[in-house]
């Protein structure tokens, strides 16, 4: 553990010269995600450690190989958290992977996504140059916002060496409630509540059970509990953790798992397979063997997009993510070339085209 940036620079420079594809890998907790894995593994785990953390600045800076669990433990020690609740999927998950994959957990709908909390990055581009964008302050509009662009870029634009994230205080109080309602009614309720100043910090609908989490000042949480009704759920924290880590029973089988990101107001989708809804209806998990074209068309028809989140390598090779329309894809290609002219970083991990 320590500063191994120089080694990473050397490795990337050699790869760029030889045009050797590299597969950037931290803990490998998200190897299942995105297109098939190609290239020589570039292991980031040694480049690890928290570089700076000052709770009153609400910022933590750590090297890419730092385990997410280490970061979260440090924050919890000061009564703070990563408010976007990134899934770990595995104890080995690293900060670099969290930011590159761009995945957020249950609190995303109330607090924002990974990219909303990225304040700055130190990175390597495809030439092996060390570059800094953004910083450790809350507001920074000097130059293009390259640091946020790195969130969710699947490592295709560069290797993250260090990331600075905004952190927030843990809520003073939390409570979990459950109501029995069918999907259509749950969506109506969720969208209605979202338009009112209620402290709802997470939601999950499955099998006619709508579970809600409330977070905030204790008086506000208590008042909202009275207002919303339903039954109180005893071990709320365990429920939300299982959902965040996809260890809930819903996720425990080999049927292809689709992630549908839709406007929260989209009507229930008529697709074969079981569904689980999060984010006030804006995130819909679907376990289905239906044809990918059918699922993608349904998502697009509802104003969103579908990702094959977990599925066979052959199926993901056809494209895990919905490809953007041609002018947008062309722009992606040009950006890829600007950051990684030799095309060495994570080829095919996002789109087949690069």
């Amino acid at each position: 553990m320590g500063d191994f940036a120089a080694e990473l620079v050397e490795r990337v420079r050699q790869a760029a010269a030889a045009k050797t594809p590299l597969r950037i890998r931290g803990g490998g907790s998200k190897d299942f995600y995105g297109g098939p894995l190609e290239g020589e593994v570039l292991d980031t785990r040694r480049h690890a450690g928290i570089v700076a953390y000052d709770p009153t600045e609400l910022v933590i800076t750590a090297r890419c190989g730092t385990q997410l669990s280490e970061i979260e433990a440090a924050l919890a020690g000061e009564g703070q958290m990563l408010a976007f609740e990134p899934p770990r999927f595995d104890q080995a998950a690293t900060l670099g992977g969290v930011v590159a994959a761009g995945l957020s957990g249950p609190r995303r709908v109330a607090a924002g996504s990974v990219r909303d909390f990225v304040l700055g990055v130190r990175m390597l581009d495809g030439r092996g140059e060390v570059l800094n964008f953004g910083g450790q302050v809350m507001k920074n509009v000097a130059g293009y916002d390259v640091s946020r662009l790195m969130a969710g870029a699947m490592g295709c634009l560069g290797l993250l060496l260090e990331v600075s994230l905004k952190v927030l205080p843990l809520p003073a109080a939390e409570a979990t409630l459950r109501l029995e309602v069918p999907q259509g009614r749950a969506l109506e309720l969720l969208n209605g509540w979202a338009g009112r100043p209620l402290p709802i910090s997470a939601s999950c609908w499955q099998d006619d059970a709508l579970t809600l989490r409330l977070s905030g000042a204790s008086a506000a949480v208590a008042a909202a509990c009275r207002q919303l009704g339903g039954e109180s759920v005893a071990d709320g924290a365990a429920f939300w953790l299982a959902l965040r880590e996809q260890r809930a029973a819903f996720f425990a089988d080999d049927t292809p798992l689709w992630r549908l990101s839709l406007p929260s107001v989209a009507a229930p989708l008529d697709l074969p397979g079981a569904q689980l809804l999060e984010w006030g209806g804006a995130l819909r998990w679907l376990k289905s063997g239906a044809a990918p074209e059918r699922i993608r068309a349904a998502a697009a028809g509802a104003g969103g997009h579908a990702t094959l989140f977990r599925g066979s390598e052959e199926a993901r090779a056809e494209g895990a993510f919905q490809a953007p329309p041609p002018p947008l894809l062309a722009l992606h290609r040009r950006l890829k070339r600007a950051f990684d002219p030799a095309g060495i970083f994570n080829p095919g991990r996002m789109f087949r085209e690069f």
Partner: protein, 494 residues
């Protein structure tokens, strides 16, 4: 290709435009634009010679006022064909010269795009054209109990298109985020005339986060045709605590203590004595003029939440050494406390012929140290300075007072400002938190970024705008300009 000593509008494209056949360009633009949609001649062009940064003025060649998307697209396509630089413009309230025209270039005004196309109270979104004013969105959403959260102090006048270009903030960013956190979708015209949609009605999109790249790109990558923004439920209640401090160090420390107590106020602002004195004479907000600094901390939410947070804020502020601590009794008093803060720039404008507003952002813990250094600079340069801070964000707005008619004062003010910006970078911060680089701080970009980083910015720019026709000379300096800057420095600095 850098045009070196050419003046304010310099940049890549300025040389190429000398070869433009102006009459042919006028004829072609007339065919595209509606009647009265093309302005020319001194009288018509004069209102466009500057934006909110009035110290920089440059007459454009022409101003286009298109009314439809097809016209914008056709204008851009023409500009690319004939190599005519384009500066997009909203209300022109920007403070960094992002909309300062380019000599021999076209100003593309989006002023006619003023329609709010849709307010969807269930989805909590508004779909608007770029020329819609920031406050107009909140006004349209008010009957649904919703509002658009980012509230730059120019919100009565500034447009959402300009907010997107600058990634504008406001006094409530710490809790509610910047423009980048509140925009869901953009429809954008590229210089080649392609129209792309980025983001959407869902919370994320496949591919790179182009929304993040476009927002804050200062009109350098594309022209926004339409935006879908997020609407936020109006809190049931808001109250503000006003605390006086006998010295700026205690006030600065109080800010850190509030955060350490686990409180994220909806707004957390600080003003020094020079600022409160200017403001009090102007709006009579009831500020404590004997205080070296005052803090304004706002709490919003349900009545229960607010009561709990206000009690906590009061306790922290008193423990941090606040003298007088007052809580707004009602909405009228809350607005009165804020009125002073919101009027700070015009209030300072009343007591000095000219002022320059800086926008550095630093770690909160260094706010007190920065204030002390600014006082030293003030003596060194012989110019007064009033300080207004978004303390919660560490975003500083020192207002340097000068008189442009006194020989040498403008240069001294510029030197003073440059010192503050350079110190902001040294302290681990940035030269601009929310106003943008524009033309004003383009030289300080060379302090904040290395040549390699600037080259990457240029490569990003080229991916969108290969001929560098959109807002040339702004935001991202060429490596050559930086070499010159590093050799010569700013007047009065070092």
């Amino acid at each position: 290709m850098d045009s070196g000593q050419r003046g304010l509008g310099e940049g890549h494209a300025a040389d190429a435009s000398d070869a433009i056949d102006v009459n042919a360009a006028i004829a072609a633009l007339r065919r595209i634009l509606p009647a009265r949609g093309l302005l020319m001649g001194d009288e018509e062009l004069r209102p466009y010679e500057c934006d909110g940064l009035t110290a920089y003025r440059q007459m454009p060649l022409l101003v286009a006022l298109p009314e439809t998307e097809a016209q914008v697209v056709a204008v851009l396509r023409l500009c690319q064909e004939i190599g005519l630089p384009v500066v997009a413009r909203g209300a022109g309230t920007g403070l960094s010269g992002g909309a300062t025209p380019v000599r021999q270039g076209l100003v593309l005004s989006l002023a006619k795009f003023m329609r709010i196309l849709e307010v969807d109270p269930v989805a909590r979104t508004a779909r608007v054209e770029p020329g819609v004013r920031n406050l107009a969105i909140s006004e349209a959403a008010a009957r649904f109990g919703l509002y658009y959260a980012p509230d730059p102090s120019s919100q009565i006048a500034c447009t959402i298109g300009g907010n997107i270009a600058e990634n504008s903030g406001g006094v409530h960013c710490l809790k509610y985020g910047l423009t980048v956190h509140n925009v869901l979708r953009l429809r954008v015209a590229l210089i080649g005339g392609e129209v792309i949609e980025i983001g959407g009605g869902a919370l994320d999109s496949p591919g790179f986060d182009l929304l993040a790249l476009m927002i804050g790109s200062e009109g350098m990558l594309g022209v926004v045709l339409e935006a879908t923004v997020k609407l936020t439920p109006k809190p049931l209640l808001a109250q503000v605590v006003m605390a006086s401090f006998g010295d700026v160090v205690s006030a600065g420390n109080a800010v850190a203590r509030i955060i350490a107590a686990g409180i994220i106020p909806a707004g957390l602002e600080m003003m020094d004595r020079a600022a409160t004195a200017a403001v009090e004479a102007f709006v009579h907000a009831g500020y404590d003029l004997s205080a070296a600094a005052i803090l304004l901390a706002e709490s919003d939410g349900t009545p229960e939440e607010v009561a709990e947070e206000i009690a906590a804020l009061r306790a922290v502020l008193e423990a941090a050494g606040a003298g007088d601590v007052r809580v707004s009794a009602d909405e009228a008093e809350r607005l009165k406390f804020w009125a002073g803060r919101k009027a700070a720039f015009p209030a300072v404008g009343r007591i000095t012929p000219d002022y320059m507003c800086m926008d550095g952002t630093i770690p909160r813990k260094r706010v007190a140290e920065m204030l002390t250094r600014i006082e030293e600079f003030s003596e060194e340069f012989g110019l007064r300075c009033a300080n207004v801070f978004h303390a919660g964000d560490g975003n500083l707005h020192p207002l340097i007072m000068f008189d442009a008619n006194v020989p040498g004062e403008t240069e001294r003010a510029t030197g003073f400002g440059a010192r503050i910006l350079e110190l902001s970078v040294e302290m681990g911060g940035t030269i601009t938190g929310e106003h943008g680089v524009g033309i004003e701080k383009v030289r300080q970009m060379c302090v904040q970024f290395s040549m390699r980083e600037l080259s990457l910015f240029q490569a990003v720019k080229a991916a969108f705008d290969p001929d560098a026709l959109l807002n040339p000379g702004k935001a991202v300096p060429t490596p050559r300009r930086c070499s010159e800057y590093r050799l010569t420095g700013t007047p009065g600095a070092h």
